[in-house]
Every structure is written in structure tokens, then in C-alpha cells.
């Protein structure tokens, strides 16, 4: 696995890093413009044409602010926390095939006419041609695929825990406890929501999942409930509204980053935007067919490559804009509602979804049944949850105080 082009890898890494950082910067700008648009304001329009250089002004401001380090912090971990956050967020992007891709070669069977040596030789040839074709991913052909992203994603919580604890302040510690409980809870429905997709595609490799969708149709058609659970958990993992309790400036005095300032605060805030980009890619690739679009994917050559890039880019852009618009549409949850949603609604729904996928796979039924079961499950959950809410209101008031 060491036969890769070092120079190309370094160049690709630098380009991807620059692209992500540039997108993060302009996402903050888009966020301000869209919030202004939603709230009937003008938004940033002073720096540069249409305010486009506002990003540079914001970045420079972060860099030139005085770097205040409170006296009571634990210095080592206080500095490590933003680094861990950004590093893990960037690492998760390494498996994303952000351009045209081909599926990784599968195992080659050993038969009587094809002895072991020939099979190994063929596999190596397959892998070699695959590595020559696949150039638009930092870690192509990683067999565990999205499992790697989940593993790395489980590290993100340490940026929050370390930041909150090392600040040595009550607000920060409480904020970090709240945020890490949220992130750990939503990791479970996040993982379970895509299990149905894995069962269909037979792989956790993103390129293979994409290839399956090219031949069988996008997963949004068969797994609408899975997609809904995925997008909700992803919003919680990214600390976006309606789950932005970690950063509820208005009523919760910030969160784990209360004691941070200057570029260290900038890094902590950047983490969420990097996550938004990565997860938008995941949503586009896992549920919306990645670069595939009916009638536009059979073009060869450079032109086809450009078209594929544009299709994937358009899908990702759509999900990023959805993040922005949802932020200014849905109000924030309370903490108990947040936890109840994860444990009482989303995990059972994900289980029902998984079981129905298993049944369809076992009896080889048409996958369109899943579209119906998804909608029925969702409506049933909606009916049950609204009925439960009535019983909560009817509970005697003093029962809440005796606990």
C-alpha cells in the first residue's frame, strides 16, 4: 500500500485544505447574508464589492486580536483543544470522494482455472488501475469507508471536553458537559440511520455505495426515513440550529468556548463549518447519488469530469444552503427535548427502518416497499408522539415537584 505518488498526495492535500478553508470563510459570509435576507436586513455590504471582502476582514480580525490566556487555565490542554477539534474535522474529510470516482475493486475469487497466484496478480492489477483512475480522494479505496469518518467523528467530542475542562470555569465545564452529552447521544442514530444503506450496497465504502446508486437508483427513493434521521443527527453533530445548545450565546452564556479568544476561538468555530462541508458531501454521496445525474453521467473525457464535478458541487451547495435556511427557520430545542428526541424517537425509528430493510433483503422484495414503510413509520411516529404530549400536559402538576 506504499506505492503512491508522494508529491501528488501533498499537492492534493494542500489544494483540498485550501478549498475547505476558503469554503469555510465564505460559508460564514453566506450565513450572514442569508440571515440578513431572512430577517429583512441588508447584511455585510461595506468591505469590497457587495461585501465580498468581509471574510478577509473577519479572518484578519481574528488573527490580530490580542491573544488573551486566562491565568486559571490548564495551559497544555487549553491549547490542544482547538487543535484537536480542527484536526479531527479535517481528517474526516480524507475519505470523501469529492470528484468523479470509480468503485474500488472487490475480492477476486480463487477457482480451479484461476489459481491463487493468478488471482493475486489480477487483484493487484485491478488495484493499480483503480489507483490510477481515482485521483479525487485523499484516501481512496479505504475499505472501511464511512466507518472511518464515524470513528474520527467520535474524537470531535474531545475538543469540546478538553476546551471546557481546561478553561477551569463553571460556565465552560457545564457547557462542555451539555455539548458532549448531545454529541455522544446523536452518534447512535447517526450510525444506525445509514445501516439500511449499507445492507443494500453491501459495503461501507463510499465509492461502492455511489456505484450501487448509479445502477439501482438513488437511496433517497428507498430510504427517505433513513435520510431524515441522518440529516437530523448530522445537524446535531454539527451543533447547528435547532441543536446549537453548545453555542447558545443568548441565554446560556456561550458554552465550552467561553474562555477562548482570538484565533483559538476562530478555530473552535471553524470546526462546525468544516463538519457542515463534510456532512453535506456525505448526504449528497450516500443518499443523492454523488456525481450521478440521469442523462448527464455518460459523457467521457475532460468535459464529463467537469460535468460530474458540477453536479456533485451543486448537490453539496444545496445541502449547505439548507443548513443556513434551517438555522433561521426552526427555533432551538430545550435540553430535555433534545435528549428525548434522540433516545425516544430517533433510535426506535432507526431500528424499525433497519428491520424493514432486513425483511425486504431477506425475502428479495422490491425496494419500493421501503418507501411506503418509511412514510408509514414516520406518520405513525408523528401520531404517537403528538398523543403522548397530551398525556404529559394532563399529568398532575405536583408530580413534577416530588421527584
Amino acid at each position: 500500500m506504499t506505492d503512491f505518488d508522494f508529491t501528488y498526495a501533498v499537492i492534493l492535500m494542500v489544494v483540498v485544505f485550501a478549498a475547505i478553508m476558503g469554503s469555510v470563510a465564505y460559508l460564514t459570509f453566506a450565513e450572514r447574508k442569508i440571515s440578513a435576507w431572512v430577517q429583512d436586513r441588508i447584511g455585510p455590504n461595506r468591505v469590497g464589492p457587495w461585501g465580498l471582502l468581509q471574510v478577509a476582514a473577519d479572518g484578519l480580525k481574528f488573527f490580530f486580536k490580542e491573544d488573551i490566556i486566562p491565568k486559571h487555565v490548564d495551559r497544555v490542554f487549553y491549547f490542544l483543544a482547538p487543535g484537536i477539534g480542527v484536526a479531527t474535522a479535517l481528517l474526516a474529510f480524507s475519505i470523501v470522494p469529492f470528484g468523479p470516482s470509480t468503485p474500488a475493486p472487490g475480492p477476486v475469487g480463487v477457482t480451479a482455472e484461476k489459481p491463487l497466484d493468478a488471482a493475486i496478480a489480477q487483484h493487484e492489477a485491478d488495484v493499480k488501475s483503480y489507483h490510477e483512475h481515482t485521483i479525487f480522494a485523499l484516501a481512496p479505496g479505504l475499505d472501511i469507508g464511512i466507518l472511518f469518518a464515524f470513528a474520527i467523528g467520535s474524537l470531535v467530542v474531545y475538543g469540546i471536553i478538553l476546551g471546557g475542562w481546561s478553561s477551569n470555569s463553571k460556565y465552560s465545564l457545564l457547557g462542555s458537559l451539555r455539548s458532549s452529552a448531545q454529541i455522544i447521544s446523536y452518534e447512535i442514530p447517526l450510525g444506525m440511520s445509514v445501516l439500511g444503506v449499507f445492507l443494500f450496497a453491501g459495503s461501507v465504502n463510499l465509492e461502492k455505495i455511489l456505484d450501487y446508486q448509479i445502477h439501482h437508483g438513488w437511496f433517497i427513493l428507498y430510504q427517505p426515513l433513513g435520510f431524515l434521521l441522518f440529516i437530523v443527527s448530522v445537524y446535531a453533530e454539527c451543533n447547528r440550529l435547532p441543536f446549537d445548545l453548545p453555542e447558545a450565546e443568548q441565554e446560556l452564556v456561550g458554552g465550552f468556548h467561553t474562555e477562548y479568544g482570538s484565533m483559538k476561538l476562530g478555530l473552535l468555530l471553524m470546526v462546525d463549518y468544516i463538519h457542515m462541508i463534510t456532512t453535506s458531501f456525505f448526504m449528497a454521496i450516500i443518499f443523492f447519488g454523488g456525481w450521478h445525474f440521469p442523462g448527464l453521467s455518460n459523457i467521457d473525457g475532460i468535459g464529463g469530469m467537469v460535468v460530474k464535478f458540477l453536479i456533485l458541487g451543486a448537490k453539496v451547495f444545496f445541502f449547505l444552503m439548507l443548513y443556513m435556511i434551517v438555522r433561521w427557520t426552526i427555533p432551538r430545542f430545550k435540553f430535555d427535548q433534545l435528549m428525548a428526541l434522540a433516545w425516544q424517537v430517533m433510535i426506535p425509528l432507526a431500528m424499525v427502518n433497519l428491520v424493514s430493510v432486513m425483511i425486504v433483503k431477506e425475502y428479495q422484495l422490491t425496494p419500493w416497499i421501503l418507501t411506503v414503510t418509511s412514510i408509514v413509520t414516520f406518520l405513525a411516529a408523528a401520531v404517537i408522539s403528538t398523543r403522548e404530549k397530551l398525556t404529559v400536559i394532563q399529568r398532575p402538576v405536583n408530580a413534577a415537584h416530588s421527584a
Binding site: 500500500m1 506504499t2 508522494f6 490548564d74 497544555v76 490542554f77 475480492p107 493475486i120 479505504l142 475499505d143 472501511i144 466507518l147 472511518f148 464515524f150 470513528a151 474520527i152 467520535s154 474524537l155 467530542v157 474531545y158 471536553i161 478538553l162 475542562w165 465545564l173 458537559l177 458532549s180 455522544i184 452518534e187 459495503s203 461501507v204 421527584a403
Partner: protein
């Protein structure tokens, strides 16, 4: 020096540094946090060896699951008298003898491991597919025993953490 050797040196020294920091930290919270970096380093070693599934599992189970609980537990319970660890000389002595014996054993074993093998095996590690098939066919019994064991642990934890009713008190 190949890239593998450079990466291994970097990761191994990071693991060694954080493992030493676990032992020599006087503050129990810092100790727990350094243990976290040791475990991350070990999972990076797995990735370097091509065992991606084991590496990802190490990250998900130990780093993302177990260590979160340990760090939380230590952070919330580390009060004045528990915050600093005081080690008596006798403890240093016993632990030092045990640790050096283990170290000598590991070093001698690792020198013998490379004998007779000049190059690493050419075959790549099995991916998640063969591993899953293995778990459900050849190693089904150990796999099931472990899952039942985990279930027992879960029930036990729920039992220990239940709301206890005090004798004589009406409060629940």
C-alpha cells in the same frame, strides 16, 4: 528511510510520551487525558499496519466510548482530596520491579519475532467483509459469548445505577 519508518517513529514516540505522561502526571484528570492520546496513537499504529477495521474499532470503542466515560467520571469526581495522586515509596518499588520485568520480557520477545522473516507478508489485511463473515461463521461462539457478556454488563450497570429506596424514608 521509508515513509512507513518515519511515520512509525513519530507515532511510537508520541505513544511513548503520552504513556509516560499518564504515569507521571500528579493530577488524575490530566492522567486520564494523556491515556486518551495513548489510545489514539495505538489506533494510528493499526491504521499504519493496514488493519483499518481494527483501528476504527479501537477509535469508536475505546476512544469514543470508554474514554469519554472515564474522562467524565474523573472530571466530575475529582475533588480536593482525590485530585492529586500521592504515591508512597513502597508502591514505586513494587510497580517499578513489575514494570521493568514486563519491559525486559517484551523487548526479548520482540527481538525474536523478526527471526527468519525478512519481509512483511505481501497479502493485505482482510477488509471488513471477510472479518464480518468470519465473525458469523468460524468465530460465532466467541462473538456471541462476548455479546452476552456485554448484555450482562449493561444490566448490571442499570441495576447498580437504579434509584435506591432508603429504608424508613418516603422520598424516592
Amino acid at each position: 528511510m521509508s515513509l512507513d519508518v518515519v511515520l512509525f517513529t513519530a507515532i511510537a514516540s508520541a505513544i511513548a510520551f503520552s504513556a509516560l505522561a499518564v504515569v507521571f502526571s500528579r493530577n488524575i484528570v490530566r492522567s486520564a487525558l494523556w491515556l486518551l492520546f495513548t489510545l489514539i496513537g495505538v489506533s494510528l499504529l493499526y491504521f499504519l499496519l493496514g488493519a483499518e477495521f481494527v483501528g476504527a474499532t479501537q477509535l469508536i470503542v475505546y476512544v469514543g466510548g470508554t474514554m469519554v466515560l472515564v474522562v467524565f467520571g474523573v472530571m466530575l469526581t475529582a475533588q480536593q482530596q482525590f485530585l492529586k495522586i500521592r504515591i508512597r515509596p513502597q508502591e514505586w518499588l513494587v510497580a517499578g520491579i513489575l514494570a521493568s520485568a514486563l519491559f525486559v520480557l517484551l523487548v526479548t520477545t520482540s527481538f525474536h519475532l523478526g527471526e527468519g522473516k525478512n519481509s512483511p507478508p505481501a497479502e493485505p489485511m482482510p477488509g471488513s467483509g471477510p472479518l464480518g463473515v468470519g465473525f458469523l461463521t468460524q468465530y460465532l461462539l466467541p462473538f456471541e459469548i462476548i455479546s452476552v457478556h456485554l448484555l450482562v454488563v449493561l444490566i448490571g450497570a442499570a441495576y447498580l445505577a437504579r434509584a435506591k429506596r432508603r429504608p424508613g424514608g418516603n422520598r424516592d
